[in-house]
């Protein structure tokens, strides 16, 4: 596993981020720094805002950013369209990946790869080269090649959809991968495949932010930092041991501590 070699400037800097959905304020001031080579786990009870954080970073139009700043690779991304963020190397693995009947995986993934290349001033990948790359990634993340031949996620089981997110991540090779509860609803085999995929992607040049409700996935992916989100704020940060503490004690002591602090 790659060691966490800190660069001098963070890959991702979040300062005082607040966001709402409609009239409901969900993020109430998030501060976070993520350096290349790191894996951060964001944990928290249901409704704490952890999924919202991942989605706001990716630019989901359902949320309104009401304050704060997010620098990704040195650039303020909050006003950028989601596709621009993606082309800069930000990737969101969806909690509920969508079915795209009639859209072939090959075509979908190539469009994503080409969009990023063109954004970086490179030429689109030729079909044969892409084909070989895709085959290699399919083998690497141990996904059934038949799934790639079909329409994206159409008729896939929950586990297959999550694996497909990992394949997309491997193909798009992001600088920053945001995994939105990718582990939930997975059996142990699927969990291992998803974790292996994330571990494969880990390198000194990129980073992973893992949003999860359960400690379980952290048995397979060792984070450098664990943060606990509660009521729209990070209320506790620590090393991997914090995840184990949460596993033993549950979230109630976090809630109590947070409420006592108010």
């Amino acid at each position: 596993m790659a060691a966490a070699t800190k660069g001098s400037t963070p890959l991702l800097t979040i300062k005082g981020l607040t966001a709402s959905a409609g009239d409901l304020e969900i993020l109430k001031g998030i501060d976070l720094e993520v350096f290349t080579g790191e894996v951060h786990a964001i944990m928290g009870p249901n409704g704490s805002g952890k999924s919202t954080l991942a989605n706001v970073l990716a630019g989901r139009p359902d949320y309104t950013v009401t304050g704060g700043q997010v620098l990704f690779d040195g650039q303020d991304i909050l006003k950028l369209e989601p596709e621009i963020r993606a082309r800069m190397g930000l990737f969101l693995a969806f909690q509920y990946p969508l079915e795209l009947p009639g859209v072939r995986a090959w075509q979908f993934l190539k469009a994503g790869v080409d969009a990023r290349r063109v954004h970086n001033g490179e030429e689109e990948m030729n079909a044969r080269e892409f084909d070989q790359m895709l085959k290699a990634k399919v083998a690497q993340v141990q996904i059934d090649p038949d799934l790639v031949a079909r329409a994206v996620n159409e008729g896939f089981s929950g586990g297959e959809k999550k694996r497909n997110e990992i394949l997309q991540m491997a193909v798009l090779a992001p600088k920053l991968a945001l995994l939105d509860e990718t582990d939930s609803g997975l059996d142990i085999d699927a969990l291992r495949i998803v974790s292996d995929g994330v571990n494969l992607l880990r390198s000194p040049e990129n980073a992973v932010v893992l949003v999860t409700h359960y400690q379980r996935i952290l048995n397979y992916i060792t984070p450098n930092h664990v943060h606990v989100l509660f009521d729209g704020r990070i209320v506790q940060s620590g090393g991997p041991e914090l995840a184990h503490e949460l596993e033993e004690k549950g979230y109630d002591w976090i809630k109590d501590a947070a409420n006592a602090g108010v």
Partner: protein
């Protein structure tokens, strides 16, 4: 003969000139058939959207009725059709191409077969006089002239058309491509394409009907297709409505299926100011199966009306009806689907859906699927949807780096691909893929908001 009202003066003049001119040497039974149909048209006229006329509730044909459409004055030459005949190849041992210019069969552009007792794929005019081809007994058996005037008018002008007949048990699969081309001209022109398909028992035939014409002329195509699918026969029928943007098209299609027969159709429509696609399938033998698919893409002020009805007259028949529309601009789509299951048609299995993707705020869909079930042991369901591109899905694509336009196009194309995917001949499927890809508008709004 009833005297024509003044508003049909052009039609009367044409009718009389046909009887004296190019249609003069027709056999007497054909003269009689035309005369009867002409009388019938004079009684019914063109339909109106008056109250209680459910078949024409949402489609007004006044723009057709008030125009003096006339038949083409002179025969177009093969040269005039350059670029209009199909460009895609069809391969196979028994592929026939029949090309019609302004309603007249063009021998130069066609390859036909005329073997009584074997395969007939030929111009009606050419074989009408020869009784061994059995045209007299078959024509008009399936498409009645008692309907709304259009079929009667088509029959009154019956002169040329396509006759496709496979003798019982003919083993070789046959493919026939029919190209009905309206050639450019200044007058408001009308053609009356007529197609008759008789698939003898245990035969297999694919028929591709395409309708094309000049982009900027207000011409009228009034087509009738009759299909008889005998015991155990299979007919794959494709209808490509690729008329000009100002064209009017009314197509009346009547299909009768016998025991254990199979009829699959895919109807594609693009362009056309006003299009009506009227398809009736009679499942008249146990074990018959039909699969009716359609895809229409409309823009500007275009109007398309699909009226599809399936009559489960005998038990153990299965029908599948799946139409999809993509609507832009101020266009309007009407879908009327009626599945009737008669009292004795037990074990009927019927599904019908109509789905519409709406790309603008001003486009409109009137979708009315209906089931009339008189038997008690059946499996039937139906549904209709109309909506914008889903915002959640769009975000999924954008999160992978695709911009709004690219993502929208991909999703619109994906929506269409289900129907294009039903096309069996590879070359035709690719051809349609190319045509529809080019026609999908480059736009991304509006988007349905989730949450």
């Amino acid at each position: 003969m009833t005297s024509a009202p003044a508003k049909y003066a052009q039609y009367l003049a044409d009718f009389q000139s046909l009887a004296r001119g190019p249609g003069a040497d027709a056999p007497s039974w054909l003269h009689d058939l035309r005369d009867t149909a002409w009388s019938r048209f004079n009684e019914t006229g063109f339909p109106t959207a008056r109250r209680g006329n459910e078949r024409w509730k949402y489609t007004n044909v006044a723009s057709i009725a008030r125009t003096d459409f006339g038949i083409a004055g002179s025969l177009a030459t093969a040269n005039a059709s350059k670029g209009l005949a199909p460009t895609y190849k069809m391969e196979g041992p028994a592929v026939y191409d029949l090309v019609y210019l302004d309603g007249h069969y063009s021998p130069e552009l066609s390859s036909s077969a005329a073997v009584p007792g074997g395969v007939i794929a030929a111009s009606m005019a050419a074989i009408a006089l020869d009784r061994s081809f059995d045209l007299e007994d078959q024509i008009g058996r399936y498409a009645s002239t008692d309907g709304d005037g259009f079929a009667a008018l088509n029959t009154a002008f019956l002169h040329d058309g396509a006759y496709i007949h496979l003798a019982d048990g003919h083993a070789e699969k046959v493919i026939v491509r029919l190209s009905y081309i309206t050639v450019d001209g200044t007058d408001p022109k009308v053609t009356y394409p007529r197609t008759l398909i008789v698939a003898g028992s245990n035969t297999d035939v694919t028929v591709i009907e395409s309708y094309t014409g000049p982009k900027d002329s207000a011409y009228f195509t009034n087509a009738v297709t009759e299909v008889s699918v005998r015991d155990g026969a299979q007919v794959d029928h494709y209808r490509l409505l690729l008329e000009g943007d100002k064209a009017f098209h009314v197509g009346t299609n009547r299909v009768k299926q016998e025991k254990d027969s199979s009829f699959s159709s895919a109807s594609f429509a693009l362009g056309t100011a006003l299009a009506r696609n009227d398809l009736e399938v009679l499942l008249d033998g146990p074990g018959a199966y039909c699969s009716l698919n359609g895809l229409y893409l409309t823009a500007d002020n275009q109007h398309i009306d699909n009226l599809i009805s399936i009559d489960h007259a005998k038990p153990h028949c299965t029908s599948r009806l799946n139409y999809k529309g993509i609507l832009d601009g101020k266009s309007r789509a009407v879908f009327g689907g009626e599945v009737m299951v008669r009292r004795d048609a037990q074990k009927s299995d019927a599904e019908q859906t109509d789905k519409n993707l709406i790309l603008s705020t001003q486009a409109e869909v009137d979708s009315k699927p209906s089931l009339l079930i008189y038997a008690d042991d059946v499996r039937c369901n139906h549904g209709a949807t109309a909506g914008h591109i889903d915002a959640e899905t769009l975000f999924y694509l954008r999160s992978r780096g695709l911009d709004l336009d690219t993502a929208s196009r991909m999703l619109i194309h994906a929506f269409a691909s289900e129907i294009i995917g039903t096309v069996k001949p590879d070359q035709l499927r690719e051809h349609l893929n190319t045509i529809f890809s080019a026609a999908i508008p480059n736009k991304s709004l509006p988007i349905a908001r989730v949450r």
